[in-house]
């Protein structure tokens, strides 16, 4: 995999994706005490020869928006590889509060760190940042744009649970503003996947993402309700309907209820259906589903560690 920066999922070929996922699987296996050579060890990173792989590497964390999973999993990943982080901290406590531009901020922090992980509310922020620095920039979410590292862990989870070949996936919820959706849909064009998009018309895929899917030759199947397509799905990827997108609470409530799932919803689903969610969830998935074999979303969240370890390992 030869990339200077990780900005969008579109930049990855199928081979790139498989390289990252294979390495992530190797890291996963090592932690479980099954190294590739078949020998046994205690599963620790030190024993697996991973913990000093990137000793002295510092990852700069620049999160201009809140994050739990992405921020912590990047921090965990680099520490498991022997490195550490330097963290800009909250926007309120940084020079950003004084009006510093992102272009200046990244040029300062590139002097402190070997790579930058950037989350920013503006679309295209990571791309712009990459034009100002010489160290790798990893897009950890740019507004309603992209979230390519989430996509890699999504693909890892899909591969583990359902396989990426001959996949039929439903992607439901906020498809307009959901950056995880945009990146996932684009990455899935690299595989033999049939994609069904389920959302209210007001939250349908934006034209630029549809353009990319059309360019890739993917047929886009759009639905306003899950019912008709649910029995066909191997994976259902649910996203959060964001309350702040609706001026009216009643309208939000009606849509949020219509695009949530519970055990009753799943009566018509395949037994093997895997349900995914980038988390955090609010009301989209009834907690009663957590204890079923359908629930893959916590596995998905945990995949963030080996996948980001693999990505960093390949990038740095």
């Amino acid at each position: 995999m030869q990339h200077d920066h990780v900005l969008t999922a579109k930049q990855f070929s199928r081979a790139d994706i498989e390289t990252v996922l294979d390495r992530a699987a190797a890291f996963d296996a090592r932690r479980e005490g099954v190294p590739p050579d078949g020998s046994e060890h205690d599963g620790s990173d030190a024993e697996a020869g991973v913990s000093d792989r990137h000793a002295e590497t510092l990852l700069g964390l620049l999160f201009f928006e809140p994050s739990t999973r992405t921020r912590m999993s990047f921090e965990t990943a680099i520490k498991r590889l022997g490195g550490d982080v330097v963290d800009m901290g909250s926007v309120e406590s940084s020079s950003v509060k004084k009006g510093e531009t992102l272009a200046d901020t990244v040029r300062v922090i590139e002097g402190y760190a070997d790579a930058l992980v950037l989350r920013h509310p503006s679309q295209g922020a990571a791309k712009m940042a990459s034009e100002y620095v010489d160290v790798p920039v990893i897009n950890a979410g740019d507004g309603a744009g992209h979230h390519p590292t989430q996509t890699l862990l999504d693909l890892y989870t899909i591969r583990e649970h359902a396989g990426l070949d001959d996949l039929t996936i439903g992607i439901m919820g906020d498809l307009k503003y959901g950056r995880t959706v945009h990146s996932l849909a684009q990455a899935l064009t690299r595989f033999d996947a049939t994609q069904h998009f389920v959302s209210p018309e007001s939250l349908a895929l934006p034209p630029d993402v549809r353009y990319d899917l059309d360019e890739a030759g993917t047929s886009v199947h759009s639905h306003t309700d899950l019912e008709s397509v649910l029995p066909d799905l191997d994976v259902l990827y649910v996203t959060r309907i964001q309350r702040e997108r609706f001026p009216d609470e009643n309208e939000y409530r009606a849509i949020a209820d219509a695009y949530g799932i519970d055990l009753e919803t799943l009566e018509r689903a395949k037994d093997e259906l895997s349900i995914m969610h980038p988390l955090p969830r609010v009301d989209e998935i009834d907690p009663a589903i957590d204890d079923t074999d359908h629930a893959a979303y916590f596995d998905q969240a945990h995949s963030g560690i080996p996948v980001r370890m693999a990505l960093l390992d390949l990038l740095l």
């Binding site: 531009t101 679309q123 295209g124 034209p207």
Partner: protein, 155 residues
């Protein structure tokens, strides 16, 4: 009325560029794209909505003392795809070009996406890739398929 007869309405230029066959009503946008706002030295003549055999109505822009580069005129293709460019020296047309679609336009259009990084206070010029049927922001990937003139943002 032929193109030749209306040309007489606007005086010939000695040296410079004549941009002809601009779609009717787009002359001021042509000037905006070229960064001509009257504050420079150029003498500029503009004909708007003049009759044209080929186009019905057209605009024409004559810029005295400035020969436009191919890069400059190529940007005009977004709003004036039929334009012809005549380079004039000593009253003679020494070069005649058609506009060609560039692969990208920089610093000409503003992104309509209010959340695009180029619309904030960052020191970054707008950049759009030119597609077959529109343009696309190089940063936030927003598509513009029509109404390019509404997004012209030249200082």
């Amino acid at each position: 009325m032929s193109d030749d007869s209306h040309q007489l309405r606007v005086s010939k230029i000695k040296n410079g560029t004549v941009i002809d066959h601009v779609r009717g009503g787009q002359a001021l946008n042509v000037l905006a794209i070229l960064g001509i706002d009257g504050s420079g030295d150029e003498a500029v003549s503009v004909g708007m909505n003049v009759p044209s055999d080929r186009m019905g109505r057209k605009d024409i822009v004559k810029v005295e003392g400035r020969e436009l580069s191919q890069d400059e005129v190529d940007v005009l293709s977004l709003i004036a795809p039929d334009a012809t460019i005549n380079i004039v020296r000593a009253y003679d047309v020494i070069g005649k070009h058609r506009v060609e679609r560039p692969t990208e336009v920089v610093g000409v259009l503003s992104c309509p996406n209010a959340n695009c990084i180029t619309t904030g206070d960052e020191p970054v010029a707008s950049r759009f890739a030119v597609l077959g049927d529109g343009v696309r922001c190089a940063y936030c990937e927003t598509l513009i398929r029509e109404g390019f003139a509404d997004h012209i943002d030249v200082e």
